[in-house]
C-alpha cells in the first residue's frame, strides 16, 4: 500500500521541521451557522489536518467538554448527512485534510458503503472511530478502502506490543496514541509511561504517530524524550473558543 494523502500531510509538516497540527472541532460548533467559518479559520491558521467530531448521544470515550459540544450539536439538529453536505459544499476546498471522528452507530446507520462514497465526495480522507477496535473494524475498513479513505487506529498506554503489531498490519494515514488512561480532555502528565508508549508505537508502526487526549499547548510536548509526528488538540480548543477566544490566538503558539 502506498502512502496515503493523510500520511503525506503529516510527513510534509515534519519535513518543514515541525510537528503536524491536528485540531479537533465538533461539527456544528459553536453553532451550525458559524461552523464552516471556524473550519476556514483553522485552515488559514496552520492546521495540517482537521478532525471533525460527529456528535453522538453516548460518547463513552469523551470527557465533559467534547460531550457537551456533542450534545449542543445534536440539539441544533447536526446530523451526519448535514456534516457531509457542509464539507462537500466547501469551495474552494480546505488546504488541510479532513478526518471524521465519531462513534460507530451513526456511521453504521448511514450504511458503510454509502458512507464511504459520500465521504469521498466530501473530500474526507480518514475516519477515527473510538468504539471500533481491531476485531470489529473489518467491515468499515473494507468499505473505506474502496475509496482510498484511511481508518486511523487508536492505541493506548495499556496496548501491548503484540496488539500494536496486529494494528500496524492494516494501519494507514497515521496512528493515534491516546496519551491518558481516561477520556478526551483528561489531565496529562506526559510522564515516562507516555514516552514508553511513544517509543513502542514508533518502533511497531511505519505510519506517523499522532498524540492526543489532554493536549493543550506545544510546551507539553517540549519535554518529551520521544516526539510524536503530530499532535491532536480538541477539548482545549473548544474551551478556548467557548471562553470567547479566537482560532488565531489558539493556533499562535503552535504556529510560531
Amino acid at each position: 500500500m502506498g502512502k496515503s494523502t493523510l500520511q503525506q500531510r503529516v510527513e510534509q509538516a515534519n519535513k518543514a521541521g515541525r510537528i503536524a497540527r491536528i485540531p479537533f472541532i465538533t461539527a456544528g460548533f459553536p453553532t451550525k451557522a458559524e461552523f464552516v467559518g471556524i473550519l476556514r479559520e483553522l485552515d488559514a491558521h496552520g492546521a495540517d489536518v482537521i478532525e471533525v467530531g460527529v456528535p453522538f448521544s453516548d460518547p463513552v470515550a469523551d470527557g465533559p467538554v467534547v460531550e457537551a459540544a456533542s450534545r449542543v450539536a445534536l440539539e441544533q439538529g447536526v446530523t451526519l448527512p448535514w456534516i457531509l453536505e457542509q464539507l462537500a459544499g466547501l469551495t474552494p476546498r480546505l488546504k488541510a485534510g479532513v478526518v471524521l471522528m465519531g462513534y460507530y452507530n451513526p456511521f453504521l446507520q448511514h450504511g458503510l458503503e454509502r458512507l464511504a462514497a459520500d465521504a469521498a465526495k466530501a473530500g474526507v480522507e480518514g475516519f477515527i472511530v473510538p468504539d471500533l477496535p481491531l476485531g470489529e473494524d473489518a467491515p468499515m475498513r473494507a468499505a473505506l478502502r474502496a475509496h482510498s479513505i484511511d481508518l486511523i487506529p487508536l492505541v493506548g498506554l495499556n496496548t501491548s506490543e503484540e496488539r500494536m503489531r496486529e494494528y500496524a498490519a492494516t494501519a494507514s494515514g497515521y496512528v493515534y496514541v491516546v496519551s491518558v488512561m481516561g477520556t478526551t480532555g483528561g489531565t496529562n502528565s506526559m510522564n515516562a509511561t507516555v514516552e514508553d508508549a511513544l517509543e513502542r508505537v514508533s518502533r511497531v508502526f511505519s505510519v506517523p504517530v499522532a498524540l492526543g487526549f489532554g493536549i493543550h499547548s506545544p510546551q507539553q510536548l517540549a519535554s518529551l524524550r520521544v516526539k510524536p509526528q503530530a499532535a491532536v488538540f480538541g477539548s482545549a480548543l473548544l474551551r478556548h473558543l467557548e471562553a470567547g477566544g479566537t482560532v488565531a490566538e489558539f493556533m499562535k503558539p503552535w504556529v510560531s
Binding site: N105, P106, H110, D131, P133, L154, T159, M181, G182
Partner: protein, 397 residues
C-alpha cells in the same frame, strides 16, 4: 459463531483502552469461573448469604380463574430483593480471585447498585456506583442502602441523567481504574464477555426451575415468561431451556415494557420497536433515530427503562426460540395489584410486566397447562410510585 457473538449480535465495540481489561476478564471467566473451587464457594454464598434455592410458588387462587396452573419463580425472596444478587456475588467473588480491590457498577433504579454494594461489603471490596442524577432523586431509599453498605454513589449529570448515561460514565471510570477494579456489569448486555458471564451467573434461575418443575409438575412447564429490560433475569431463566433439546417444546416468552402505549410514546421495547445498532459495546436491537442517535426510553418500571437489550435476546428473537411481546404501564400496574390481592405477594413493577402478559392474554395459554412466571424482584421499592397511580391506594385510610 464468531467469539463473543450470538448470530450477528454481540461483539466488543469499546475504546481500545478497555480491550485489555476485557481480555483479562475473558481469561478469568475461562479459568477462575470454570473452576470447581470457585463454583463451590459461589454455591455456598448463594445458599447461605443470598437465600437460594428460591421457591416455586403455585398461585392457587389465580390458577382457578385462569384455567391453567400459574407458578412463580420467587427471585423476589432473595437477599436485596431481586435476582441481581446472583450476578453480583459471582462477579464480586471473581474480582476478589482476580486480585482486584474494588468494584464499580452502574445502576438505574438502584437494584443492581444495592446488590453490588452488598456483595462488595460481604467480600471486603471497595465499591463505587454510578447513577443518573435523575435516578438518585427518584430512588433515594436505594441510594441510602448503597451508602449504608459503604459504597460511594456518584450522580451522573450527562446526557439524559439516567441508566444509559450511568453506563457511559462507569465505562469511562473503568478506563482509568482498570488496574485494581472490576466493572460489575448489571445485566446480560454490554461488551463481550459480559453477556455470557452474566447469563451464566443468572442461569441458576432456569436450572432450579427445571428441577423444581420436575418435582412439582412431574415434567417441564409448558410456558415460561420473564420481563426483559437489559434482560438478565430473562436470559437466566430462558437459557437452561433454550440450550436443552429436551426442552424444545417449552414456550419461552420475553416481555418488553411498552411505556404508556400512547402513539409515539417513549418505550423500552427495542426488540419489538427498535432496529439493530451499536450501544454500550454491543450490536443488538436498539431504540434509535434515523441518524443512529440513541432515543430516550420510558417505562413505569425503572428497571426496564433502557433503550437497548442484551445481544442473546436479539438472537433468540431472530431465530424465533423466544417470542418477545409488549406490555404497557397500565397492564403492569393491574397485575401488581392483582398479585398482591389474590396471592399475597407484592411483585416488582418489572416482574409485573411478565405477570401482566399472562393475566391479559390468558387465551394464549392452553387450559390445564403449567405456566411459570419469573418473579424477578419484590415490589416494596415501588410503593412510592404505585401509591400515586393505583386508585385503590387513593383517598382516606
Amino acid at each position: 459463531m464468531k467469539k463473543g457473538y450470538f448470530g450477528e449480535f454481540g461483539g466488543q465495540f469499546v475504546p481500545e483502552l478497555l480491550v485489555p481489561p476485557l481480555r483479562e476478564l475473558e481469561e478469568a471467566c475461562e479459568t477462575i469461573v470454570a473452576s470447581s473451587d470457585f463454583q463451590e464457594e459461589l454455591g455456598d454464598l448463594l445458599r447461605n448469604f443470598a437465600g437460594r434455592p428460591t421457591p416455586l410458588t403455585r398461585c392457587d387462587n389465580l390458577s382457578r380463574d385462569l384455567g391453567f396452573t400459574l407458578w412463580l419463580k420467587r427471585e423476589d425472596l432473595l437477599h436485596t430483593g431481586a435476582h441481581k444478587v446472583n450476578n453480583t456475588l459471582g462477579q464480586a467473588l471473581l474480582a476478589k480471585r482476580m486480585g482486584k480491590k474494588n468494584l464499580l457498577a452502574e445502576t438505574g433504579a438502584g437494584q443492581h447498585g444495592v446488590a453490588t454494594a452488598a456483595a462488595a461489603a460481604k467480600m471486603g471490596l471497595g465499591c463505587t456506583i454510578f447513577m443518573g442524577a435523575t435516578d438518585v432523586v427518584r430512588q433515594a431509599p436505594n441510594v441510602a442502602r448503597m451508602k449504608l453498605f459503604g459504597a460511594t454513589v456518584v450522580p451522573v449529570h450527562s446526557g439524559t441523567s439516567t441508566l444509559k448515561d450511568a453506563i457511559n460514565e462507569a465505562l469511562r471510570a473503568w478506563i482509568a481504574r482498570q488496574d485494581d477494579t472490576l466493572y460489575c456489569f448489571g445485566t446480560a448486555a454490554g461488551p463481550h464477555p459480559f453477556p455470557t458471564l452474566v447469563r451464566n451467573l443468572q442461569s441458576i434461575i432456569g436450572q432450579e426451575t427445571k428441577k423444581q418443575a420436575a418435582e412439582r409438575m412431574g415434567r417441564l412447564p409448558d410456558a415460561v415468561v420473564a420481563c426483559v429490560g437489559g434482560g438478565s433475569n430473562a436470559i437466566g431463566m430462558f437459557y437452561p431451556f433454550a440450550s436443552d433439546d429436551a426442552a424444545k417444546g417449552v414456550r419461552l416468552i420475553g416481555i418488553e415494557a411498552g411505556g404508556t402505549g400512547e402513539p409515539g410514546c417513549y418505550n423500552s421495547a427495542p426488540i419489538n420497536l427498535g432496529t439493530p445498532g451499536v450501544l454500550h459495546g454491543q450490536h443488538s436491537m436498539l431504540l434509535q433515530d434515523a441518524f443512529g442517535q440513541v432515543q430516550p426510553s420510558h417505562s413505569v418500571s425503572a428497571g426496564l427503562d433502557y433503550p437497548g437489550v442484551g445481544p442473546e435476546h436479539s438472537y433468540f428473537a431472530q431465530v424465533g426460540r423466544v417470542h418477545y411481546r409488549v406490555v404497557y404501564d397500565a397492564e403492569a400496574l393491574r397485575a401488581f395489584e392483582t398479585l398482591a390481592r389474590r396471592e399475597g405477594i407484592i411483585p416488582a413493577l418489572e416482574s409485573s410486566h411478565a405477570l401482566a402478559f399472562v393475566l391479559e392474554h390468558r387465551e394464549e395459554f392452553t387450559p390445564g397447562s403449567h405456566v411459570v412466571v419469573n418473579l424477578s424482584g419484590r415490589g416494596d421499592k415501588d410503593m412510592g410510585i404505585v401509591a400515586g397511580l393505583l386508585p385503590s391506594l387513593q383517598g382516606d385510610a
